[in-house]
């Protein structure tokens, strides 16, 4: 297995080396375009005249090249996609090369990394592509040997006819296979026969990463390229008024200073020169909206929680009656702050706006959006825009937006030169699109037997849209239920952040259910299982989750963690369904010198078939580390519309000495794969908070935990 940094069509052909007469098969891993794989001619491929977004080639030397178009952000797609194709093709992984596709005139529908959607979206199609090629190779061999295709078998890139002891490599068969009709129907492997899928395959870019090769957007350099930094308004609610750029323009290496929208861009010959010159700008701003501060938000939340103007998200039964006749009512409120995405590679993009079209290069989770927005901005056809994806130094949702791409386009258009726009860490942290701050109020009505018969949730958020997931658990398990929300619109910009909404809703909800279980005098795990029984036997309204899969992860994590059987260790439980996957966790806390210390997290994940063990384990472990880190330390506050934390000295991220041990298991159920990049994060906060509650008797109601009373003076 090797990886090739180059990505143009021409280079793919060169690398695929089908010129000597190999097999080039086009296919779609999305639902757009032709549905069956087809043999493609090199000429059609080179001209971009096909209906396909992915290609698979088998060269005469037997090397298989897969042209994989999904943006790589660290979720392992670039490795997992070709694994699925190679599995059905029955080829030796060492003989597979992977090339990242360019976004061109092809239909790259859903060429984006977000919502843990990439693998589930394309599972069947990728398998079909591999199986089609395999079947064509088998038929080519059968024809040559004059034997029935059904008697031939494949293994590691060869076709064998056991009865006559004959064997040929795929490379030798590829030219003949290319002339055969594409089979209308192919048989996919039985999951039991998977050899590559479910094994541990290493990230295909490892070699380049550990040797420091240029891979990321920020690593893109080109002769004659200019560098730009953009001065944006200093606070949300301010707008640009005027700029005096005399001093900046006089500085070494500065080529131009241009303004667009509310921004001033300094353009020059090197990163450091434009950074220094930007500091010499004298920009005046004026107020255009509210300049909000964090203490205002706290007050605002209190008001919104009592607002009469809520949007009802779900209503089952008669909530008022259930609460009026309840034996016991439990109430709890939970709040989470704004968070920055802070991928370690800050925002950046390269643009070259030419009279005949636009060239874009850089890291984005949504290349198609970047392209259509560029077209809109310049009033040109998207067909004249090419976009080359680089590897991304993380994204966490931040790179779903195209704002920083458009900045590069604006600046290149104004200075008529190729430009790379670079954000400093400070730009990245203060420049917006945060995880929104939200507050929740929960109320539960218990009957005399401690059963939850009524449930109310109000979510209030700042630019958070609907901060609830009204059809998730416990909906469906409670007879009388009301979920509603109120939104405050603010100049502070927000956007999706890894596991949007559920990243904080899960903490609040799973902490509250822990409270309710305690009030009901029930074990927290048993309490959930009882609710699931109810959802199974007498479901109320719509259910978005699978009761049996939820039950399975709960029971498995309870068993793995020795739930309730340990002495001197305080355990907290949490389970959550998001992005079509199920994850249950148990956090373990020890008291050290009177303070709770998180030692370990047990996790059980059901994300269907695990394609790549190594990648999957890291996704889940990374998600848990992320969940612990942000629950413990993450906090972005505002004063007069400006973010108060500007870099990692004040915005605390989790470090190596702060991680818990993680004991991780996957449910092996053969179900088609579902999301993996996100679902491990949501349950983590409550697993930790509930364990801390067990240890200290103190309920953590707000994030970050490190600033709550249990940690006062020690964090």
């Amino acid at each position: 297995m090797s990886t090739l940094p180059d990505s143009s069509r021409r280079n793919f052909l060169k690398l695929a080396a089908t010129a000597g007469g190999g097999l080039l098969l086009g296919f779609n891993w999305t639902s757009a375009g032709a549905t069956t794989p087809t043999v493609v001619s090199e000429a059609a491929f080179a001209a971009g005249n096909t209906d396909f977004n992915s290609y698979l080639s088998i060269a005469p030397d037997g090397i298989v090249t897969i042209f994989s178009p999904n943006p790589e952000i660290g979720q392992g797609i670039k490795t997992a996609f070709p694994m699925i194709v190679a599995e059905e093709l029955d080829v030796d992984w060492k003989r597979v090369k992977v090339v990242q596709a360019v976004l061109d005139k092809q239909k790259y529908e859903r060429q984006l990394t977000g919502g843990s959607g990439a693998i589930p979206h394309s599972w069947k199609r990728l398998r079909q592509a591999g199986a089609t090629a395999r079947q064509m190779l088998v038929e080519a061999a059968a024809k040559r040997w004059n034997v029935p295709a059904a008697e031939c078998t494949t293994d590691k890139g060869t076709v064998t006819h056991a009865a006559t002891g004959r064997k040929l490599g795929y490379g030798e068969l590829a030219p003949e296979a290319a002339r055969l009709p594409v089979p209308a129907e192919v048989k996919l492997k039985d999951i039991k026969d998977f050899r590559l899928i479910g094994s541990s395959v290493k990230n295909v870019d490892n070699r380049n990463i550990v040797t420091g090769k240029p891979l990321f957007g920020l690593d893109f350099y080109r002769e004659g390229m200019l560098f730009a930094m953009v001065q944006r308004p200093p606070a949300f609610g301010m707008k640009f008024k005027s700029v005096d750029a005399t001093a900046a323009k006089a500085m070494a290496g500065i080529v131009d200073v241009v303004t667009f929208k509310n921004n001033v861009a300094v353009v020059g010959k090197s990163t450091w020169q434009v950074k220094k010159a930007r500091e010499a700008l004298k920009v005046e701003y004026e107020k255009e909206g509210n300049l909000e501060s964090t203490p205002d938000h706290d007050q605002l939340f209190a008001n919104l929680l009592n607002s009469a103007e809520a949007t009802v998200r779900r209503k089952d039964g008669d909530v008022a009656a259930a609460f009026a006749t309840a034996a016991k009512v439990v109430k709890g409120e939970y709040q989470c702050p704004f968070l920055s995405h802070s991928p370690l590679e800050p925002m950046n993009f390269f643009a070259h706006v030419r009279p005949d079209g636009v060239e874009l290069v850089g890291p984005t989770q949504t290349p198609e959006l970047a392209r259509t927005e560029t077209a809109k901005l310049l009033g040109i056809s998207p067909d004249t825009i090419t976009l080359e994806l680089t590897r991304m130094g993380g994204g966490f949702g931040r790179r779903l937006k195209a704002d920083y791409v458009l900045e590069a386009v604006e600046v290149s258009n104004l200075v008529k030169a190729p430009v790379k726009v670079i954000w400093t860490r400070e730009d990245d942290m203060t420049g917006g699109s945060y995880r929104p701050a939200v507050r929740y109020r929960f109320e539960a009505a218990l009957d005399a037997g401690g059963n939850m018969v009524g449930y109310k949730l109000r979510g209030v958020g700042i630019n958070a849209g609907n901060p609830t997931r009204e059809n998730n658990f416990p909906s469906g398990a409670v007879d009388h239920l009301l979920i509603d929300s109120v939104e405050h619109q603010s100049p502070i910009t927000t956007g999706p952040w890894r596991a949007p909404i559920t990243n904080f809703l899960a903490f609040a909800e799973q902490s509250f259910l822990d409270e309710v279980a305690q009030a009901a005098g029930k074990d927290p795990v048993q309490f959930r299982l009882d609710l699931l029984d109810k959802a199974k036997q007498a479901p109320v309204g719509e259910l978005k989750y699978d009761v049996d899969r939820t039950r399975k992860v709960i029971e498995m994590v309870a068993e793995k963690s020795g739930w309730g059987k340990k002495k001197g260790i305080f355990q907290g439980f949490s389970v959550y369904f998001s992005h079509a996957s199920y994850v249950a966790q148990v956090g373990e806390v020890l008291m050290v010198k009177g303070k709770p210390v998180l030692k370990k997290i047990y996790a059980v994940a059901d994300c269907g078939v695990v394609v790549n063990q190594s990648g999957a384990r890291q996704q889940v472990m990374g998600g848990i580390v992320d969940g612990v880190g942000h629950a413990m330390y993450g906090n972005l506050t505002f004063r007069d519309g400006a973010a108060e934390q500007t870099n990692f000295d004040t915005y605390r991220l989790i470090r190596i000495n702060e991680i818990p041990e993680i004991d991780l298991h996957f449910v092996d159920n053969g179900i088609d794969p579902t999301g993996l990049g996100e679902p491990a994060l949501p349950p983590t906060g409550a697993a930790v908070a509930n364990a801390i509650f067990k240890a200290t008797g103190k309920r953590l109601r707000n994030q970050p935990f490190s600033e709550q009373e249990v940690y006062k003076g020690v964090m």
Partner: protein
Amino acid sequence: MAAFKLQINGRSYQADVEPDTPLLWVLRDHLGLVGTKYGCGIAQCGACTVHLNGKATRSCVLPVSAIGAAKVTTIEGLSANGDHPVQLAWEAVDVPQCGYCQAGQIMTAAALLKQKPKPTAGEIDAAMVGNLCRCGTYHRIREAVKIASTKTK
């Protein structure tokens, strides 16, 4: 602007830059050595870690004028064939997720093992604490440093 002679990865380079330019940007913008990454610019994340006379150093806060005759090693020059025990261990453990922080992690780990070939778990954490990994690959980093330490003489 001034001309600075630099000893990097056993070769000599010349850079015509302002004296306050951090080594990080000299490497990236002027010398084409982009393996050293920018993450924070204020010595908080470790993405920019290089070796200065064998010691792990944050190149984002090191002005080029302060380097003098000191020998600089970057990820590109850590080993001739990318086969430093730390690099090999990183591959064996499949450490990288997005990969952006990893050059810095590797440089910090390599400097630690040079100083202390058999570090304890606590010493590994203490050495690596200045390197952020936003993807949370810390468990694998620990494991890879341990494996590399068994291969370091």
